[in-house]
């Protein structure tokens, strides 16, 4: 907090009113509703409401589809985070070491940040279109019996590839910034101590990048959980047989298409707890970094 602050009887309230109003109406109220609805059962016409404690939660964990979705989300997030971070780090190390044209490469690599996940999904759909898309033809020509409409692994491959493509640029920006913040004298000292490029990277540069890497990891998990909705919805819609349903997509499917209010709300609350944990981890990290 600031050592010096203003004191005024009503001005600060006046300043926060717009934000507080919007947060109350469009965040606090719906979030409270979600928690409330996760504990009740409503009949189809919304006439009778029954308080059922944790019944909605129990039925979620007994639902095989939910287990499938949770498993897919875990695999999907891990792969998307791993590949997009690895690729971005690799490119960032190369861009950092380059003498000429670094700015051009930077621009040519970061513009994808601005592409909406849904638009990325559409572009991916085009490329994987049966018989027409170049990627489809390439995979078939290479002898892969590629059929994302039937085979879950194939469908997962398409959404993972597109999600990675979309995420590399953000990770690249952070990794490059992280690399460039390593002081020259550290690099020069490292150069004297260790001649091998590869070993120098893993023993000196990589550990120095760890804080950035951790931050990027949290961002990527959040991205894989929530922002990939557009990719899934335009490419697979959770098919085949719910095999590419992320947890967030399932909240949407069960709530909006399946009209299962209680179940969908309980899933929301579970996700809310997950985000809470992620945010706490992130905050701890931010605090640590400040007190260095």
């Amino acid at each position: 907090m600031k050592r010096q602050q203003f004191q005024h009887p009503f001005l600060p309230y006046f300043l926060v009113v717009p934000q507080v109003l919007i947060i109350s109406i469009f965040f606090v109220w719906p979030a409270a509703q979600a928690i409330y609805q996760s504990f009740v059962l409503e009949d189809a016409f919304g006439l009778g409401v029954q308080f059922v404690w944790f019944e909605n939660y129990e039925s979620i964990f007994n639902d095989r589809q939910y287990v499938v979705s949770a498993t897919f989300t875990a695999i999907f997030s891990t792969l998307v985070a791993f590949f997009s971070m690895a690729l971005a780090l690799f490119l960032a190390v190369k861009a950092d070491g380059i003498l000429k044209g670094a700015t051009s490469y930077k621009i040519l690599l970061i513009w994808v940040y601005a592409v909406a996940p849904a638009v990325a999904g559409i572009v991916g759909t085009f490329l994987f279109t049966r018989n027409l898309g170049p990627l489809y033809n390439l995979l078939i020509a290479s002898g892969w019996d590629f059929n994302p409409q039937v085979n879950v692994a194939d469908a997962a491959f398409t959404v993972i590839l597109v999600s990675v493509w979309k995420q590399v640029s953000v990770n690249f920006i952070y990794f490059l910034a992280g690399l460039q913040s390593i002081p020259t004298y550290v690099r020069e000292a490292a150069l004297i101590d260790c001649k091998s490029n590869v070993r120098r990277f893993w023993t000196i540069i990589f550990p120095l990048l760890a804080p950035t890497g951790f931050f990027v990891l949290v961002i990527n998990i959040t991205y894989a959980f929530f922002d990939t909705f557009g990719v899934i919805d335009t490419m697979t819609r959770g098919s085949p047989a719910g095999g590419t349903n992320t947890l967030v997509y399932k909240v949407y499917q069960d709530g909006f298409l399946g009209l299962d209010l209680g179940g969908s709300s309980a899933q929301s609350v579970i996700l809310m707890i997950l985000v809470l944990v992620l945010t706490m981890v992130q905050f701890r990290f931010i605090e640590r970094k400040i007190h260095y």
């Binding site: 600031k2 050592r3 010096q4 203003f6 005024h8 001005l11 309230y13 300043l15 926060v16 717009p18 934000q19 507080v20 919007i22 947060i23 109350s24 469009f26 965040f27 606090v28 109220w29 719906p30 979030a31 509703q33 979600a34 190369k94 861009a95 380059i98 003498l99 690599l109 970061i110 940040y113 601005a114 592409v115 909406a116 996940p117 638009v119 559409i122 572009v123 085009f126 279109t129 018989n131 027409l132 170049p134 493509w165 640029s169 920006i173 952070y174 950035t212 557009g230 919805d233 909240v251 949407y252 709530g255 909006f256 209010l261 709300s265 929301s268 996700l271 809310m272 985000v275 945010t279």
Partner: protein
């Protein structure tokens, strides 16, 4: 040493191509006749049907949504992108200013209430949010489209971090000169914040423009469709029985991605600064 640099350039060029080629194919294919695409597959080079495809999509609206053309959807996206970013910045600056620079009894409680919204992205509370908006009669309106998206503390958080990093001495000297809270905000804090505001504006514009799920739920009236959600209609069209007009679908995808990409490329320096600063 030189040989290694060539190798590095090769890797970077491969990375750039990995990023560019999918969008290039989309653009090249959008300039061909639908019949060509259906018989020969997607195209790698520009065809002779650019003008026809793009004028049809922009003005005729014969495409995917019946009466709505891309021009209207672009307008709606622009309203969403600008309304979202400007609204969010205005509200966030005021709130962050109050939280950082004032000591008031409910300050702590308000701080936690605002930041609790970081916990629950809109995607997770869509159903109750939809109900609230429909009870307020805001379905199919720009207000209903924009306000619920603004209900998040990300920008407030950035501005709070930024204000906290402004030296205390500024406020001390301003007070010696008898500057009140309003003057301090307008004459001292705002000029210091302009780069930060520009950076956050760019990020938020892109975020707003790229919204997909919320506009889908909110708008049943076609005149409120945004271009990014218009994509959902492309898919329905392609899956229908008519001869799929892939060229028009791809033209629409190009128009959905071009404006935010241009903004990021043109204001690249601010945008990168904004992203990196928010990490701190």
């Amino acid at each position: 040493m030189k040989r290694f640099q060539i190798f590095d350039h090769a890797i970077l060029i491969a990375g750039v191509l990995f990023m560019l080629i999918p969008v290039w194919i989309t653009f090249a294919s959008s300039t061909h006749r639908p019949e060509t695409l259906l018989s020969d597959g997607l195209q790698f080079w520009i065809g002779d049907y650019f003008w026809e495809t793009y004028t049809t999509v922009l003005f005729k609206g014969s495409g995917f949504t019946g009466q709505v053309n891309a021009l209207l959807m672009l307008k709606n996206s622009m309203i969403l992108g600008l309304g979202f970013s400007i609204g969010k910045i205005a509200i966030s600056i005021l709130a962050a200013y109050a939280i950082v620079y004032f000591r008031f009894p409910a300050g702590n409680f308000i701080f936690w209430m605002i930041f609790s919204s970081l916990l629950l992205p809109l995607e997770v509370r869509i159903l109750p949010s939809y109900e609230v908006v429909s009870q307020l009669g805001m379905l199919n309106s720009y207000t209903g489209l924009i306000l619920p998206l603004i209900a998040s503390a990300t920008a407030t958080f950035f501005f709070r971090q930024f204000f906290k990093s402004v030296p205390d001495e500024l406020l001390e000297s301003a007070r010696l000169d008898n500057a009140g809270p309003f003057r301090f905000l307008v004459d001292i804090l705002w000029p210091l914040s302009t780069t930060m505001v520009a950076a956050i504006f760019i990020i938020m514009f892109v975020v707003g423009w790229n919204q997909y799920l919320w506009p889908i739920l909110m708008t049943t009236d076609e005149s409120y469709y945004t271009i990014v959600m218009g994509i959902k209609q492309i898919l329905n069209e392609l899956e229908g029985n008519n001869v799929p007009k892939y060229n028009e679908a791809m033209a629409l995808a190009m128009m959905a991605l071009l404006p935010p990409v241009l903004v990021v490329v043109i204001f690249q320096r601010w945008f990168v600064k904004g992203l990196v600063e928010t990490e701190k």
